[in-house]
């Protein structure tokens, strides 16, 4: 089997890991995460500005468009540390939108948007619909062309950070072909965005009503590269969310360990009981496997064939490991685990959200099986 990835790091990746580790830890203490749950925007604009100033949105954008000219491999340590510290911002969606533009944008579109993203403009993707299918090519929203205008219809769901994004990239079917339209949020009619109640209270998500909305055909990505955009976005999303989940798994295991080391029952520190100790070790082992897969996926990202296998392995392992570690964290915290005050639920909910966005572990495995065995 020659489509299995390898593992390696780059100097830039490690530098970014060090910076991101400190930045996310310092700027996103859990009290702040919890305070932002009740905030409309859902993130701290000052921190978002800093993320832009640090150049983190420019990492995987070519220098010609004002970017740093690295790759998604260098985005991974940042997403990992953000997930570890439950730091919510439009970082992920903006990064993915840039990838979509790179995969399918015309010269003019790339020149118009990528420099702005590089400087810190938020963007997002509107890909999901009411059918709930993880297959991003399954699109029922449509666009009808007349002259050089395209009239859109249908509803997009789970559009993360849509109220902050200046650019929203929407998938629609035009004459049976999968197309992507660039919509400026400022052009949305009143009421086009409805805030959704989502399982992850640290993120913000919106339903986007396309009915009545028109865009110029100049705002459509390259007609021949629709498939490439889907593949690139799916892979990049798998990588970014695997990174977030891996960081989250590390955090929830550490959070559980803190409790197991301090809580006493029957005169003993509960971490000395093997009934708690052994499953915690099992969860830790699964986490380390997830992290290994994550850095393999980052390393293999650009390689034809290997990239997809490595990313799906990372996504499957991260989702399973994060879910299980958070699930056991709730249980091992006993009565406290059942309360909203216990951080375990933040992680458990985030793992569910991540699975909902990119496809859960069994889904990733079903895609992998085809790549490995058929």
């Amino acid at each position: 089997m020659d489509n299995l990835g390898n593992i390696g790091t780059t100097e830039e990746q490690i530098e970014l890991m060090d910076v991101a580790t400190n930045f996310c830890r310092d700027k996103s203490p859990v009290e702040k995460v919890r305070a932002l749950i009740d905030d409309d925007l859902g993130y701290d604009p000052a921190i978002w500005r800093e993320v832009g100033e640090l150049g983190w949105l420019a990492i995987a954008i070519p220098e010609a468009h004002g970017g740093v000219g690295l790759s998604m491999a260098e985005v991974v340590p940042i997403a990992e540390q953000m997930g570890r510290n439950l730091m919510s911002t439009p970082f992920g969606t903006t990064t993915l939108a840039a990838q979509a533009l790179l995969a399918g944008g015309t010269e003019a579109q790339q020149a118009a948007w990528l420099p702005k993203i590089s400087e810190g403009m938020a963007a997002t993707l509107a890909l999901r619909e009411d059918h709930g299918d993880w297959d991003l090519a399954h699109v029922e929203c449509s666009g009808t062309q007349s002259g050089d205008s395209l009239t859109l219809s249908g509803k997009k769901q789970l559009v993360l950070w849509a109220d902050s994004a200046e650019l929203i990239i929407v998938s629609v079917k035009v004459d049976e072909r999968l197309r992507f339209a660039l919509i400026e949020r400022s052009a949305l009619p009143e009421g086009a965005l409805r805030r959704e109640q989502i399982i992850d209270e640290t993120a913000r998500s919106y339903e986007l009503t396309l009915d009545g909305l028109s865009v110029s055909t100049d705002a459509l990505l390259d007609v021949d590269r629709g498939r490439e955009v889907i593949e690139k976005v799916e892979l990049a999303a798998g990588l970014v969310h695997a990174a977030e989940m891996t960081g989250g798994a590390q955090a929830v295991i550490d959070y559980t360990l803190d409790y197991l080391k301090t809580r006493k029952q029957f005169d003993k520190i509960i971490g000395s009981y093997q009934a708690l100790k052994h499953p915690t070790v099992n969860n830790y082992v699964e986490y380390e496997k997830a992290r290994t897969h994550l850095y393999s996926a980052a390393h293999s990202w650009g390689e034809q064939g290997r990239g997809e296998v490595a990313v799906r392995m990372a996504a499957a392992q991260a989702h399973d490991s994060y879910s299980q570690a958070a699930d056991r964290s709730i249980q091992f915290h006993g009565g406290f685990g059942f309360t909203h005050d216990c951080d375990a639920q933040l992680h458990r909910r985030k793992a569910i959200m991540n699975g909902a966005l990119i496809g859960d572990a069994p889904y990733q495995r079903s895609k992998l099986a085809g790549l490995l065995f058929d």
């Binding site: 100790k277 070790v281 380390e288 065995f373």
Partner: protein, 404 residues
């Protein structure tokens, strides 16, 4: 200290090693070859593997990085790595003298006297002197620190009484690394232990073979009845047995003493399992069309790939900062449990044929899978059970309190 290798020299050596293993590797000598040093059952297996190790050593592909003055090759570690890669490439048989080369040798090279190095190292490299390990006792399997075999100082020697168990190659070994109790009044159980380089072929030491769950042999129980050894067999000083025993475990990571090279245990080739699955059918369709089997097989591929890459990641300090002991300590647990699960899983591919065993012409792959599954327990139990491993990871990597 060997120089940083010259690239051209290393390349020549690698090519020579490649050619040598290509030419000399025998994979099917006409009888089943053991996959691990713990499974050597018959004389023909033992003789074959001993001869193979001698040949590899004499060709310069084992102990290449060990000091020249004691029988090693005196080369940089990268040379031995290249030789080991060639061994793996041609699926060469295992190195037999695992306890000697993997445990006793590094300990002696690290802490032994000049005389001990001269006496022991070369003989373990060329497999002339087979070594075994005497740590476990019948009543103290996992609780090694509680070993009770008695070593009583008597004049210029020690008199040994007691028993050791699960001694791989015990009936064929010339030496045993032995953990024995020299002080029954020490302040704790660990401080009463001492470590010996113990000769096996002496009066008062006898072995009896243990039949394994597979029906084969490979382990013995060793009995010590007033066996008398000389005082210079003591290694590391009285009362330091526990720390010596623990040290033998550290050398595996190759940090202190350069690895001897080769392998004592054959990695299970996962592709064989995938092949077996691909060639199996269920309800008239390919087995891997069955969604349950397909999902499980994929999960195992994810697991295997993770453990294989973990070995690379372990050498990348930049990805090991958070819990540096985590990966090294979990490796045994994760790997041995996975192999047990995988081999058990493979039995399910075989349908009715899962009923056959080694020796029947109808057995799939001569019963290889059944034998591998049953033998897999030697690794999940031996060398510290998986349950003990979880305690070790919990206490030493995660910082959880001891179980008492």
């Amino acid at each position: 200290m060997a120089e940083k290798p010259d690239a051209a020299e290393l390349k020549d050596y690698s090519q020579a090693a490649d050619a040598w293993f290509k030419e000399n590797t025998v994979r099917d000598p006409g009888f089943m070859l053991p996959l691990t040093f713990m499974e050597v059952s018959t004389d023909e297996q033992f003789d074959f593997l001993r001869e193979w190790q001698r040949k590899v050593y004499e060709a310069g592909y084992l102990g290449a990085a060990w000091p020249k003055e004691y029988g090693g090759g005196g080369l940089h570690t990268d040379f031995q790595r290249a030789a080991t890669r060639a061994m793996k490439k041609y699926d060469a048989p295992i190195m037999l003298n695992a306890i000697g080369n993997g445990w006793a040798g590094p300990l002696i090279l690290d802490l032994g006297s000049e005389e001990q190095k001269q006496k022991y190292i070369k003989g373990m490299l060329n497999a002339e002197d087979i070594w075994c390990q005497g740590f476990s006792e019948p009543e103290h399997g996992s609780d090694l620190g509680n070993a009770q075999l008695k070593a009583v100082k008597d004049g210029d020697g020690y008199v040994l009484n007691g028993s050791k168990i699960w001694t791989s190659l015990g009936d064929r070994a010339k030496y045993m690394i032995l953990l024995a109790r020299t002080d029954f009044e020490a302040e704790n159980k660990y401080k009463g232990l001492s470590f010996f380089l113990n000769p096996m072929k002496i009066d008062g030491i006898s072995t009896s073979r243990i039949k394994k769950l597979t029906g084969e042999y490979g382990f013995v129980q060793t009995f010590f009845t007033d066996a008398r050894i000389s005082a210079d067999c003591l290694f590391g000083g009285e009362g330091n047995g526990w720390s010596m025993a623990m040290k033998t475990l550290e050398y595996e990571r190759g940090a202190k003493v350069k690895p001897v090279g080769g392998y004592f245990v054959k990695e299970l080739d996962v592709m064989q399992i995938v092949e077996l699955a691909k060639n199996s059918t269920r309800n008239g369709k390919p087995l891997l069309d069955d969604p349950v089997m397909r999902d499980k097989m994929t999960q195992y591929m994810i697991d295997i790939q993770a453990l294989n890459l973990n070995n690379t990641r372990r050498r990348m300090p930049q990805l090991m900062q958070d819990k540096p002991m985590g990966l090294p300590l979990m490796n045994k647990l994760a790997r041995t449990e996975l192999i047990r699960e995988l081999t058990e899983f493979s039995l399910g591919f075989q349908g009715t044929k899962a009923g056959y065993y080694v020796g029947d012409e109808n057995a799939v792959d001569d019963g290889y899978w059944h034998r591998s599954y049953l033998n897999s327990f030697s690794a999940t139990i031996g060398g510290g059970t998986s349950e003990i491993q979880r305690n070790i990871v919990a206490e030493h990597a995660l910082g959880l309190p001891k179980t008492r």
